[in-house]
Symmetry: C2
Subunit: 464 residues, 2 copies
């Protein structure tokens, strides 16, 4: 069948979706261990970028790999819908480290389907979700021209805080010009509840390094007099929250934007059960800040979590040592009103004041990301709502998400366009965990969502 | 020169000491990575035992390797001094793990001399000190018969709590019968202060394991509601000591034997400077229990130290994860009056009560060791004092040590003989640390000390 000039219907498009090929290509992508935080995997990063460039070029996009001081950016555009809106799809091809690797059922970079799920590091975050848009474009092209002008920007540094994306956006501001930005890099509210996300938390991430004596010491010969940096680190961390689960860093809450009664009401009506939520992660309780519901704590309140800790002897058996050093990775999720630079500074000022005698504490800022919130009245948010209803058969829920995409605020600020967050995964995908996965159904529905979304955005017309 | 029948003098013996051969043989021993806690090094353990057996056999001892359910024991005896005391020398041929291996200047199992010090794992603890007694016997034999009946018991499980030594002592009680037990496995008070040690601390060592959710979680999607086992572990550990540095485990101090005024006075007169002590370990302060001097805190007061901690992401860069599990190794040094089983039980009862909501805490007892204290009036302690004065030219100091040799109490109880603790190393040797070392001078003086000690014990006569 030759390409039609009229808008193809949902049924026509769904019938054209080649699931085998879509999955085989995603597997190719997942096999490349593109861990951006691992300096030993530079080559894999470049190989992933080139795979994406070649695919987009094959679809008729003008596509290239742009080097940065870190990992490269893949940029591609196909601008043959004059008078129609221009859509910029953002995604990232880098993935989280795979450790603890011993907890994976199948190797993290050897994708495998089990019970309808594709298991691999990056399956959902974000290779699977980003590639759904690539295949969405391919699907539209199988029936005709693209209904919008389409640009892809796929970066390789999202999991390390996108240090080079802001300058890239600045440098390519004109080229990247668009009416709306589309990002799929998260989890929808529930399996059967398609979600339009209108807010993201930010982040402030630090390394806390504690030094006691100049060398490791025998705990018999020195125990009772030597400073112990592990005990000291625990004392410091324990003081970062009070009995009510509130963070004790001075000024931490000063600029937090309170939740509105409307939001609290809207979220209270969402189908959520604390018991089921706790059960889904195998937790016996859901501890957190007093006075807020679980959804409010995850979507609308800031947090402090230790993401890693180390020090002394971690091996089999026992070693009677007092370590010279200990360290922890500590991050705060931030909410609208809070500024990551301000919070990083407060962490760097306050944490060392908690050091007990005999240890030195250094707090190194690792990265920060701005929290963001979007206008629920945008026509593009309504277009996404319609596209999702065409796929899932029910209107979208409007929520926020607890995760951070630090560059979303940069996109809005630098490109001056609204950002549509259309999450294609679910929390059960286990993003950032061992055995990360993406259901085949979600992947294929994601491809359809992308195609319908471009049609609905075309129908909504250009932004003023 | 033929062997003399009269007691050789200090000068005669010192002249006969073959330093090159003594060092070469110690190097052979240090090259074998006999890490008892590492189940992958079984073969090295057996090789070390066989090396010692063969050497003692070559010196005319009746020597054998006895298997145990764990690592083997080397036993050797040469009983040709009728009417003279029988001395049992105990030492251990196993060593601590070498990690953090990246902090070693030269590889831990490739001994190297730098500025008069032998660097290798086990150089002082306890291969060097144990082997000084083997070469001490060789030195005496070079001039005549041994002045005492001499037995060696060299075990391979000291660094993992000697789980099989007590049953070995019970099973070989008659064969091991002796008038005095000699152990060199510690550090003397200072480089120029030879020390007779009359007390050791005990130990109670546990693993604290904390479980939050069933799997690692994304700190964005779950932060604010998911239990964080690392934060929880820090809160637990921080509560184990109060503001005065006292341990909060209920009943912990109930049976502690207080220091006598005489001991406090004697220790206060020892040449000790807090400033120099802190300087020697590169510490800016010497924190500990209020109301006690540094020596009192190390020798005569119990402690609690975290020896290792782990959880979450420890790699390069950042990972926004809430770990499912965290753990720590926690040990208490115990003093006379305290019972390790009682303290282990108190730790296992108390620590889980500190668990915040959402986490499960398991406290696994790893090992315990009895604290001990000896009679300062023993004739064998006086014999050691004389032997040390012959080597160092000054009388010995009487102190305790903060370390533990858990089986010392078993020796005294099962064999019914007093234990002489004659430490040949110094704290600067860095036992249990990277770059462990033993000065060549201390090793050679240790050989002389052993030979003189046997002569002085022979002069003291059999115990009643």
């Amino acid at each position: 069948m030759m390409a039609l000039m009229t808008q193809p219907s949902s049924a026509d498009l769904a019938a054209l979706l080649d699931r085998d090929s879509a999955q085989a290509e995603l597997f190719d992508l997942l096999r490349i261990p593109s861990v951006s935080s691992d300096s030993g995997r530079k080559e894999a990063m470049g190989r992933t970028a080139e795979y994406l460039r070649a695919k987009l070029a094959a679809l008729g996009f003008s596509a290239r790999v742009d080097e940065t001081p870190g990992h490269p950016v893949v940029y591609a555009e196909r601008l043959d819908a004059p008078g129609k809106p221009t859509v910029l799809v953002y995604g990232h091809y880098d993935v989280q480290p795979e450790d603890p690797v011993e907890e994976w059922v199948s190797p993290p970079f050897e994708p495998e389907v089990r019970e309808g799920r594709i298991y691999a590091r990056g399956a959902t975050d974000d290779k699977g979700q980003a590639y759904a848009h690539v295949r969405g474009a391919e699907l539209l092209l199988a029936q005709g021209d693209l209904p919008v002008n389409l640009k892809f920007l796929l970066e390789g540094e999202e999991e390390i805080g996108s240090p080079n994306l802001e300058p890239y956006l600045e440098a390519h501001r004109d080229e990247l010009g668009c009416d709306v930005i589309v990002i799929s890099d998260g989890s929808r509210f529930a399996k059967d509840v398609p979600t339009v996300t209108y807010g993201l938390r930010g982040i402030a991430y630090v390394d806390v390094l504690v030094q006691g004596a100049a060398r490791d010491l025998h705990s018999g010969s020195y125990g009772g007099a030597a400073p112990n940096p592990i005990n000291a680190l625990c004392e410091i961390i324990a003081q970062l929250k009070d009995e009510q689960g509130r963070i004790t860093i001075p000024g931490f809450y000063d600029s937090v934007e309170p939740l509105t009664e409307e939001e609290r009401q809207m979220w209270a009506e969402l189908p959520h059960s604390d018991e089921e939520f706790a059960g889904s992660i195998g937790a016996s309780a859901l501890p957190g800040e007093e006075g807020y519901s679980t959804l409010e704590r995850i979507w609308g309140r800031p947090t402090l979590d230790v993401n890693g800790i180390w020090g002394g002897f971690q091996g089999e058996g026992s070693k009677t040592v007092i370590a010279a050093k200990a360290g922890a990775k500590v991050s705060c999720r931030l909410v609208p009103g809070q500024d990551p630079d301000d919070i990083l500074r407060r962490m760097q000022e306050y944490i060392p004041t908690l050091a007990p005698a005999g240890v030195q504490v250094e707090v190194r800022a690792s990265h920060g990301g701005q929290p963001v919130k979007f206008d629920l009245g945008s026509p593009f948010i309504k277009a996404a709502d319609r596209a999702l209803e065409r796929v899932y058969g029910r209107p979208a829920a409007f929520g926020r998400t607890g995760g951070s995409i630090p560059i979303v605020a940069d996109f809005a600020r630098i490109l001056g366009a609204p950002v549509l967050l259309v999450d294609l995964g679910v929390n059960e995908d286990g993003l950032h965990s061992p055995n990360e996965s993406f259901s085949q159904e979600d992947y294929f529905n994601g491809i359809l969502t992308s195609a319908y979304l471009m049609q609905e955005i075309a129908a909504a017309g250009k932004s003023e």
